[in-house]
């Protein structure tokens, strides 16, 4: 009798032990996952900290306003001149150009894939779009340098290394982002919207462009902004086709230097004040990206508030 009791007690002890071990394991796993997620947050904070700390000396000595609005960058002159206005304008021009070329093509492709594409062709299309996203940027650069630049020089104007060449290359590069995000958001529009439009006598095109796209608006915008993020941060492909002259381009056929190009061209050898100025260029680029992310969050929040469409 006593034996049996003892045994029972032992069993419950063992059971409690097992539960406790399981709890510890679970807690351990939880902390491990927490650590992993903290790592990415930590990386972002560290990058922020070092970029802005590195940029501080330049901002202090040159002055933030002067640094941003002065249009002469001559780091090896005596005394050196640091002003990145031309580069900011260059980045903005090239990105806008990429949008002008990439966004309409991207949205219409998305409409085709979501609403018109025969089911046999669809897998092929998605494959190719994914492939487009996977091509390394230096390959885009080569493509631009060997094909687009000579084409512009031959049939249009200037020497081809231009805002236009960079815009075309970037326009192609942002296509996959714009297409994928837009397609998903067009597909997410409830069928009832189209059916309602058709029932009211709209043609298929009218239903898509006057009902479907407005309903998917915020998703499409998000796609465009992700595309802009890619375009503004792109380096290698742009360096190879933009010409990198330090001027404010007066036409799309003129050469241009972007913020990223300025960093990659000069980072290797810069020292002292020049180095700090390059880091400060990076900080400005970083601010652009932060701003874009904020806009993106804002759009997403808006979309969620509007009832979770897209």
């Amino acid at each position: 009798m006593t034996d049996a009791k003892e045994e029972k007690k032992d069993k419950t002890d063992n059971g409690e032990k097992e539960i406790r071990i399981a709890a510890i394991k679970e807690r351990g796993a939880e902390y491990f996952f927490l650590l992993c997620s903290l790592m990415s947050i930590g990386a972002v904070l560290l990058i922020c900290f070092f970029i802005f700390r590195g940029a501080w000396p330049t901002i202090k000595s040159v002055g933030l306003w002067h640094f941003l609005t002065f249009d002469k960058w001559k780091p090896t002159d005596v005394p050196p001149l640091f002003g990145i206005f031309n580069m900011i304008a260059g980045s903005v021009y090239v990105t806008l150009g990429a949008c002008v070329i990439g966004v309409p093509v991207g949205i219409f492709s998305a409409v085709y894939m979501a609403k018109y594409c025969p089911y046999r062709i669809y897998p092929v299309m998605t494959q190719f779009v994914s492939l487009l996203a996977g091509i390394p940027s230096i390959i885009y650069g080569f493509f631009g340098m060997m094909l687009i630049v000579p084409f512009i020089a031959e049939y249009m104007s200037g020497n081809g290394n231009s805002v236009l060449a960079a815009s075309v290359v970037l326009g192609i590069m942002i296509l996959p982002t714009v297409i994928k995000v837009s397609e998903v958001s067009i597909r997410a529009v409830p069928k009832a919207y189209f059916e309602g439009a058709l029932a009211l006598g709209a043609t298929k095109e009218q239903a898509i462009f006057f009902v479907g796209i407005p309903a998917a608006k915020s998703g499409i915008l998000a796609g465009i902004i992700l595309g802009i993020g890619r375009a503004i941060g792109e380096t290698m492909a742009v360096v190879m086709v933009a010409g990198n002259s330090n001027i404010l381009p007066k036409s799309v056929f003129k050469s241009v230097r972007t913020l990223t190009a300025n960093i990659v061209l000069e980072m290797g050898y810069a020292s002292d004040a020049h180095y700090d100025a390059i880091v400060a260029t990076g900080a400005v680029l970083f601010l652009f990206i932060l701003l874009l992310n904020m806009v993106l969050n804002f759009i997403n929040r808006d979309a969620n508030a509007a009832g979770g469409l897209s």
Partner: protein, 288 residues
């Protein structure tokens, strides 16, 4: 529906005709004046430093390079830009000239090694390896000694550059370890061969080389990130206080243009004017 198709077809036809006119108008404008595409290197480049100084594009304080010049970041990229652009002019190391571009005769002298060596071709610069003064790195010193020796100089002349006369003999000292180099992209071709040859004699030494431009290499060496700096320009006076340089080869800088360019000779003043942006059209040069 038919009307729609007709309309779209008409629109497309109109667009084609218009763009045809547009393109031909541009093409005609182009035929009259051929604008020169000036191609230069980033400011870190030793070739650029030497070229700017020799052609008086800089006065030591202000760089007067034409501000619309296309900037590329390596020796090979200059050649590939010149190769595809009919109106391009660039400069590159004589050893790096490819058959796909044309080197111009400058002031009547052909850009050839002999002419650099006998001093008639003026646009030339030294290749230098430099180590920090005041530190003793036996392997680095041995590698530099090899480069400056008879066996090293034989490699230099085989690679198409001009060796230095009176080189001493070299005997391998059986060292073990690692030596790191960084610097000029222009010396890559010859340095890789020197590395190979050195490795045959010293199989226990690992040679690591990073090509990132002359100034970057000098900076690396000063900051002890590498043992030896490779430079394709003379060391500046302030660099000479901290570095001991050894000139191991001479190299000419050739002015290169596209294969289709009708020009085959140019004056050095003209080159200066082109790179300063004072001369903008090939037509003005051919007319001279």
């Amino acid at each position: 529906m038919n009307r729609k198709v007709l309309l779209v077809g008409f629109g497309l036809a109109l667009a084609t005709v218009c763009s045809g006119f547009f393109v031909s108008a541009f093409a005609q404008g182009k035929a009259k004046k051929r604008e020169i595409t000036v191609i230069s290197r980033e400011e870190s480049s030793g070739t650029r430093g030497a070229f700017d100084e020799l052609m008086k594009i800089t006065d030591g304080k202000t760089n007067m390079l034409f501000e619309e010049a296309v900037i590329v970041s390596s020796t090979d990229e200059v050649a590939s830009k010149v190769e595809v652009d009919k109106n391009a002019i660039g400069y590159t190391s004589i050893g790096a000239i490819t058959p796909k571009v044309k080197a111009l005769t400058v002031d009547g002298v052909v850009a050839k090694e002999e002419n650099v060596k006998n001093g008639t071709y003026k646009i030339s610069r030294p290749f230098v390896v430099a180590t920090r003064t005041g530190t003793s790195l036996p392997i680095a010193a041995d590698f530099v000694a090899f480069i400056a020796s008879k066996s090293g100089q034989a490699v230099v002349s085989k690679a198409g550059y001009i060796p230095i006369d009176g080189a001493p003999d070299y005997k391998a000292a059986n060292l073990t370890g690692k030596v790191t180099l960084s610097g000029s992209t222009s010396v890559e071709k010859v340095m890789e061969k020197l590395k190979e040859e050195y490795h045959k004699l010293n199989s226990n030494v690992k040679v690591e080389i990073n090509y990132n431009g002359s100034s970057a290499g000098i900076k690396d060496c000063l900051e002890s990130k590498s043992d030896i700096a490779m430079s394709s320009r003379e060391l500046k006076p302030e660099e000479k206080t901290k570095l001991a340089g050894t000139t191991f080869a001479l190299d000419g800088i050739a002015v290169i243009v596209n294969k289709t360019n009708e020009l085959s000779a140019i004056k050095s003043e003209t080159v200066t004017k082109i790179f300063k942006g004072e001369l903008r059209y090939w037509n003005d040069i051919t007319a001279q």
